[in-house]
Amino acid sequence: MAIRTDIIRVYKDVHGWVGICSGIALFIAFYAGALTMFEDVIQRWASPPPALAAAPSLERSPELIAKVLEAHPEAARSFDVHVALGPEQPARLSWTVGDAEHGPASTFYASLDTDGALQVAEQGPSGVAQWIDVLHQQVGLPFPHEIAMPIMGVVALLYAMALVSGVIILLPSLIKDLFAVRIGRNVKRMWLDIHNVLGLFSLPFHIVMALSAIVFAFHDQFYMAQGAVAPPPAREARAGGSPAPEARAALSPAEIVARLQRQAPGFEPLTLGFQKGPRGESVRVTGRDTRYPMRGATFGVAVVDPYSGAIKSSDYMPGLQSAGFAVLSSFFALHFGNFGGPLVQWSYFLLGLGGAFLFYTGNLLWIESRRRRERKAGPVAQSRSTRVLAGLTVCSSLGCVAGISVTLAAAKILPLFGAATTGWHQILYYAPFLAMTAWAVHRGAARSSAPLMRAAALACLAVPAASALALIGIGWNHGGATWWIDITAVAGAVLLFYLAPRAAQRAAAAPKDSVWSAEASAQAA
């Protein structure tokens, strides 16, 4: 396809600049996002065996509810009864005090001991899986949610621009370059080929991610702008709570689950959220139906009448939605990859890692072409900014890999010190991340990439090592799917150990004016 060369030139500039401005943030978002495909398995892997007595059966939950509400009346506003239990969700009943999104919130977990007496604990499942998810949502930024999200939105807009510009500059040579990965002496050509093939074949995935990320960042602003000009809504009474609660007896959780299953046979309820608001009472049932795209990351939602068990709102319920809401759910589901079970989960995991690699190669290419331009302009020594950027690219990526591994492995060790808090998990992510990045910027990409690859590989090995501590009686292993966490970490370590000597080779062989030359870095430092 023929496109005017000046257009290609402009879009090459655009692609390079939006790419370099968003590449590192996108790497972190994609690496952490790939891991969140298995957020529930990670949470099980990381969560200690429950400290509470074994949970009472769902049939006995009315007794538990009554005892909790008697001892903790503040729970009446909103509490959750969990249908599906495991190490990642150990208690039959939990409630949260404070607003989870905008401030310190604490969640309490309740059970009944063998005598039927109430037990309440604040120590719940590990928060590390949720923290990796936050890292993904905030593209690795250590800021409060309100500040991080608009920055993420800007990154997502740059990402969308990078996709459009990337396609425009690839179009003229599309047929020629499509299946060509020229591995050989010209290293830059090889990286470019890999970047193109990877980008083109995962383009639909990236379009989905860019557009949904823009919405996740800016939905409030979009609604506000649209609401400012829209005609005032002709509000009908929303499906609210049931009036006159004292007139009828509320159903037990087991009965609600039974009646829900009669109405929606494929829907597997996970949690019943009992809520008492100004409009009355309702039960918000989160559950799974992997046959359909789901609105939440791993669940859909049914709003149920607590007195009749009838579904009041199926807007967010997989399989029972209207066409419009089904379309919307598919937007969310395409981001979360929550349809189709393990095959789709693993595909998304690989696409996510592939995306991270795409941004990594993109940054490498930018640095290489900048070197060529600088050489043309005269000075052969690398400019400070290019050197710093090369260090940042290589090592913030490796720092992110290492930081996530360290903070994950720590989940099995922190409880020993009574420090299994999100705060500690944040520190244990940012400490290796910042240390490795600072060291890399100081030493230069060439001299630091091989040692840092080995460091990241060791960090990956810390994950199975933490599991192995169970052999000497420290920590735990829940078996089953959680072994995949350890297996994947070992595979990552093997890959990094395999690549490290190659990076060292490149540093030794690279032209002296390259940021990848160890000799040049040594002179500059």
Binding site: R4, V10, A160, M161, A225, Q226, A230, P233, S322, V327
Partner: protein, 100 residues
């Protein structure tokens, strides 16, 4: 390397991008507003079409940002997008008026 005046260059990027950022956003709001009026959205939050209108902001706005580099200068980008806004918002106001 000097480009002939009819050729695009990436030098005046700030004018183009700022035009797409501001006027591209308002044009997107107008387009989704037209969609909402035509499809009879009653409530932007709870109505499925209201939420779809919100989602449409993402491809529209990022589309303006991606294709604004086809404008020859920043000034032209502002002028053209201003005209686009004028047309879209006139249509929106007229349609709201007709629908009462």
């Amino acid at each position: 390397m000097t480009a002939s005046p009819s050729q695009l260059t990436s030098r005046p990027w700030l004018g183009k991008v700022s035009a797409a950022l501001v006027l591209g956003f308002t044009a997107s709001v107008a387009l989704t507003g037209l969609y909402s009026l035509l499809s009879g959205v009653k409530d932007p939050f709870f109505d499925a079409r209201g939420q779809i209108a919100m989602w449409m902001m993402a491809p529209l706005w990022s589309g303006f940002l991606s294709f604004c580099f086809f404008f020859r200068t920043g000034l032209r980008a502002w002028a053209r997008l201003f005209a686009v806004n004028l047309i879209l918002w006139s249509a929106f106001v007229a349609l709201r008026f007709i629908q009462g």
